[in-house]
């Protein structure tokens, strides 16, 4: 299962502890994270389940490109970071 870590800045709004989740894509991994932490979903994804405009996700050090379908691949030993983009101010 991939390791999933969230920006510290989200923690004061909604607790998002480091966790592990199954899945072959970013979308599948995040869906499994939000299945046990549903309050966090709307902080990361918009109403259409795309990544919010000023959120970035890195998989093993590479920023994902598919922000709409979240189809970028995730490996069994991957580390997924959910960060704030500096573009959001």
């Amino acid at each position: 299962m991939a390791k999933v870590m969230f920006t510290p800045n989200i923690q004061r709004h909604v607790p998002c502890p480091e966790t592990h989740a199954a899945g072959c894509t970013v979308g599948e991994v995040l869906a499994n994270v939000f299945a046990v932490n549903p309050d966090a979903r709307g902080y990361v994804l918009d109403d259409q389940s795309a990544l919010r405009k000023h959120i970035t996700v890195f998989v093993d050090g590479t920023m994902i490109r598919d922000r709409t379908r979240l189809a970028d691949a995730v490996g069994e030993a991957s580390t997924v970071y959910v960060f704030q983009a500096l573009s959001g101010g």
Binding site: N9, I10, H13, D39, G42, Y43, V44, D46, D47, Q48, S49, A50, R52, H54, I55, Q84, A85, G88, G89
Partner: protein, 367 residues
Amino acid sequence: MMSDRLMVSTRKGLFTVTRRGGSWEIAEVDFLGDNVTLTLTDRRDGLEYAALDHGHFGVKVHRSTGNGWEEIAAPVYPPKPEGYEELDMWGRPLNWSTARIWALAAGGADEPGTIWCGTLPGGLFRSIDHGKSWEMVRSLWEHPKRKQWMGGGADLPGIHSICVDPRDSKRVWIAVSTGGVWFTQDRGASWAQRGEGMRAEHVPPELTHDPIAQDVHCLAQCPAAPQRMWVQHHNGIFVSSDEGKTFSEITGVEPSTFGFAVVVHPRDPDTAWFVPEIKDEKRIPREGKLAVTRTRDGGKSFEVLTKGLPQSHAYDVVYRHALALDNTGGRLAFGSTTGGLWVSEDQGDSWACVSHTLPPVYAVRFG
């Protein structure tokens, strides 16, 4: 009874200002550091609602029962149908996602728990359970003319004004920037455009009087005489005496008819207040002198009220939700983009500064 409490929504928190010993002071600060865009105090049950925009993390709604705030549901747009694409006025795909909460209004006395919510990019939502859940008003979102709405105060169109008829809560008016005034008489099942007679300077001549082209900045309805509606518009002040079917323009008002906010007296439909600025390309008080204008005769004449307001190098802009009137019509308050907050206890004849160092003020509400 006059209100002794103000809720001031700012870029960096929610400030509760109360009257103590004849003066107004900041009593509490909630959400310090966060962008609070609007509040609603529901007079039917005392619940308070606050809209927050966390930027990176999206738009959220919090509710207070008087014992602290808790996050509740935020309005969520429905899934965009597979394969469907809609472009905004910039030619970019329109994201069906709440970009801002721009209006919060309590339903009628006969529908406790009903809250209306207007958003960018143009969705209207209703809750019937005190904000526990929200449902989009699909009839308006799917109205074919909705796609003609355009950005006004923001890149995206938005619903900023919601007026529920105090005589019949099924009847609701909304106003859109830009998209004019819309009306439902069946609690949102169907909608019709209103607002003949308004005039838009920002479109070609053939569209000048098209009701959907109007950039209404704020729509206010007199509770005791709901047929009377006032509009602060992008290029003027308009008044209606037939529930918004037709409007007449009020011209020749000094120092300006440009502004964002309007409030109307709860019992006297002829009395209304505005905060004028140099239109439109500058958006600052004329000659750096901050003023409020007041009419007591339905717009035939206006007084310029400046006592207690800065009259030199004042560059305060007062947004559409940042001018408030209490339930009695006796007290007013307004906040500015440069962090000023003023209160009047004599209908605007004189003003007292509560602070001039607040964060940018987005909304002021008595409650």
